[in-house]
């Protein structure tokens, strides 16, 4: 039943040998297999993304546009071609464009080209942006995205870690005191988690930024950023409060409710009763007999939550003007900057894969069934 309420994410394939060479080697092997399968999945995922993005032939248009632009520039900048008339120059450009398109294989069927684009995407060779530029002035999609990644990671890491530990400890506390008023209040509040973080963000902005004026409307740091390191960190902190709070409000009730219920179900197991009869302290029981066996499921549900929350981050960043990937994507939509839109879709695929992998790895660390190698969880 527990597996029905908290579905397993990974179809973990573990070696089925009876006796392994040692748990660390097992872990390494497990990790390796996981990495490879995940990589294959990422490749297929990115390929599908490209197929979807190309439905209007957009990837080709981007490439062709870039070729024409760079050739026109190189022809007009070439001093040895100055004497040519405009018509001669145009025929020259057209001839070179055809040549270049042939070189890049744009005259080939789509299937071949999509594979070529796939290899470029996997190596993050994402082309040039049409309108957006990175703060350092680069027009390469890769640079723009890499520049936007740290703010997103800062926001996501802060919010998710806070959410994870807060709801875990709160759930433990409630499972110890279940039936109390606080417990009932949290159960009653859990439908509030159906609204996404940006939605609460708007309310928070309205209250704390607009009406009360206590906290900034958005952004990551005050403009201009304070010189002193301490003041700058404080400014980051002040700007983090509202988005992180919005994230917490939208995640905490269902998180606490789910885990509290889960802990309660597990603490009714016979071996917990036995431990209680043995006279172990409740803290000891919790740590050894409730938390330990539920850890894989906790991590799984956390992984699922994080994966579903990645998309919420896009809009949360937009609402809070947070200079991360999400807002970049939002601006790219506004400007129809297709290379950036496709590029960020690919980056998100990578981020999702990284999340899945990281959590699978932790999963392997805490799940004795994986380490000992007696078959994976029956997902």
């Amino acid at each position: 039943m527990a597996e029905a309420t908290l579905p397993q994410i990974s179809g973990v394939e573990t070696p089925q040998k009876k006796k392994g060479p040692g748990s660390w080697a097992k872990l390494a092997r497990y990790t390796g297999i996981k990495l490879i399968t995940l990589f294959i999945a990422v490749v297929i995922g990115i390929y599908l993304t490209i197929l979807i993005a190309n439905m209007g032939g957009y990837v080709d248009e981007i490439l062709k546009g870039q070729i024409r632009e760079s050739i026109s520039i190189s022809v007009s900048m070439d001093p040895s071609l100055k004497f040519l008339s405009i018509e001669e120059r145009n025929t020259m450009i057209n001839a070179r464009v055809v040549l270049e398109e042939k070189r890049l294989g744009l005259d080939q069927p789509f299937l071949l080209r999509s594979v070529r684009f796939l290899t470029r995407a996997i190596t993050l060779n994402l082309g040039r942006a049409q309108h957006l530029a990175s703060d350092s002035g680069s027009k390469l999609v890769k640079n723009i995205i890499l520049e936007r990644l740290p703010p997103t990671l800062l926001l996501m890491a802060t919010s998710n870690l806070l959410l994870f530990f807060l709801s875990l400890f709160f759930a433990l506390y409630l499972s110890r005191n279940y039936g109390t008023f606080l417990d009932k209040a949290v159960i009653a509040m859990s439908p509030f988690s159906s609204a996404p973080a940006w939605f609460y963000g708007i309310f928070l902005l309205l209250l704390f930024a607009s009406v009360l004026g206590w906290l900034p409307f958005g952004g990551m740091v005050a403009a201009p950023p304070p010189e002193a390191l301490g003041a700058r960190l404080l400014s980051y902190g002040r700007h983090l409060i509202l988005p992180v709070t919005a994230w917490l409000i939208s995640g905490i009730f269902s998180g606490v409710y789910g885990w509290r219920t889960f802990f309660l179900i597990f603490s009714m197991e016979d071996y917990v009763e036995l431990a209680r009869a043995k006279g172990l302290s409740s803290r000891e029981i919790e740590r050894r007999y409730v938390l330990r066996p539920t850890m894989p499921n906790i991590i799984t549900s956390f992984a699922l939550m994080m994966i579903s929350l990645w998309q919420g981050a896009t809009i949360l960043e937009t609402v809070f003007n947070w200079p991360g990937l999400g807002r970049m994507l939002f601006r790219a939509i506004g400007l129809y900057d297709s290379p950036v839109i496709i590029g960020s879709a690919i980056i998100y695929a990578y981020l999702l894969a990284a999340t899945v992998f990281l959590l699978d790895f932790i999963y392997a660390l805490v799940d004795p069934r994986v380490r000992v190698g007696s078959g994976g969880p029956k997902s």
Binding site: M1, E3, A4, T5, P7, Q8, I9, S10, G11, A41, I44, G45, L48, T49, I52, A53, M55, G56, Y58, Y178, P191, F192, S194, A195, P196, F199, I202, F203, L206, A209, S210, F217, T261, L264, I265, L304, I307, W310, Q311, G312, T314, I315, T318, V319, L329, F330, I333, G334, Y336, S338, I341, I342, S344, A345, Y348, A349, L352, V356, K378, S379
Partner: protein, 449 residues
Amino acid sequence: MKSLRRMFKDIAQYPSAIAGVVLILALVALAIYTVIAIPYNEAIRLWRGGEEVWGDYPRLAPPAWTNIFNKEKQPSTIVRNSSDLGSGVTKEVKPIDETMTDVIFTYSFDYDADVFPQEMIVFITAKFEEKGPFVSMFWITPDGREIRLGEVTAKASETYRFNQDDRLLRRLKGVVPEVALFADPEKETPTVLKGTYQLRIDAITFEEDSDLEAKFVSYGTVHGLAGTDHRRRDLTVALLWGTPIALSFGLVAALVTTVTTMIIAAIGVWFGGVVDDLIQRITEINMLLPFLPILIMVGTFQSRSIWVLLLWVILLSIFGAAIKGYRATFMQIKEAPYIEAARSYGASNWRIIVSYLIPRIIPVLIPGLVSGVPAYVFLEASLAVLGLGDPVLPTWGKLINDAYGNGALYNGQYYWILEPALLLMVAGLAFAMVGFALDRIFNPRLREV
């Protein structure tokens, strides 16, 4: 039938679920009323029509009921039209000679608000061959003062905006007309002088068949049930039409994805082997597909129509994480003796899946379906907030997007954001509360704790 009645009995034990059901029914009723009262084309006209639809509405006005909370009473919009004689408008025609005529309109209205109006405009439509009528306007205050406003030679369609007449502004010593014309001259700080005001429009026509109509609008600072936006549009239309759209988007997406996901899980479990493996792998790959960026790409490159996006949402959600949950449940059911019995009497695969496997999963399915609705309702709003709302239809998400994009939060037009947000919240919470209760009813293990 019996089990259905028992289900209702069980639901009745959860007050929040009853509240949820009531809210859902209210929303459905509102949606049906909307679709009947404002048919699709009428809604599009009201929301996309142009100035002739919302020209008489004030700009960015909060709803009229906010006056309950205001210390100072905000004015509503006052419209006096000469084509509607009798309701505060009189028309007097005095021939001057064979061709020239003096047409005098007098508009009277009571002004009892504490706040000055937003702006004032006179719209004139004149009928003439060559020479348009000469129009001069006068303002008569409750204490009997007469203030000369301005003169225009009317074209076929003429708009006289009080606050764009520089000469009037100079005559009023630099005080904007909305304030100067309504202010009590005795008071130091501008205060509204309450009472009956009159506007006299004195027009001289120069041709025999020449005539004119004039409409006076004093724009208020509050409007209707829901207020207006930056383009003077009445938000009621969008709030009402957002209801059927949100409900149908959420319900269709939740229903189709849940049912299809369940069927796929059932097929995978029953046939096992390669089929099951394939479904498992597709699910894992699907989890890596960036859901929102793909929807964004569809919205940018293909179509912003809400129904196209709905199709993609369903396509991307079919192989969702829920498959794993259904799979686990089906695995247990598959081992049940009655399945063994069905197999031994020679039931076909489809018969077993449709008649024996799927009915058993309904208890897991229904709570999941109901709880899934809010996610899709909010997804539509999320897409709209990203600027990928449906190009034609007004939705709640698009209202939030409009409000946010036009700085409603910074400028204090909170009603603009709060109204759609509260409706979204109500819709989301209603389904979430019912789904929550259903989950506890169908999973007895949850009920104990």
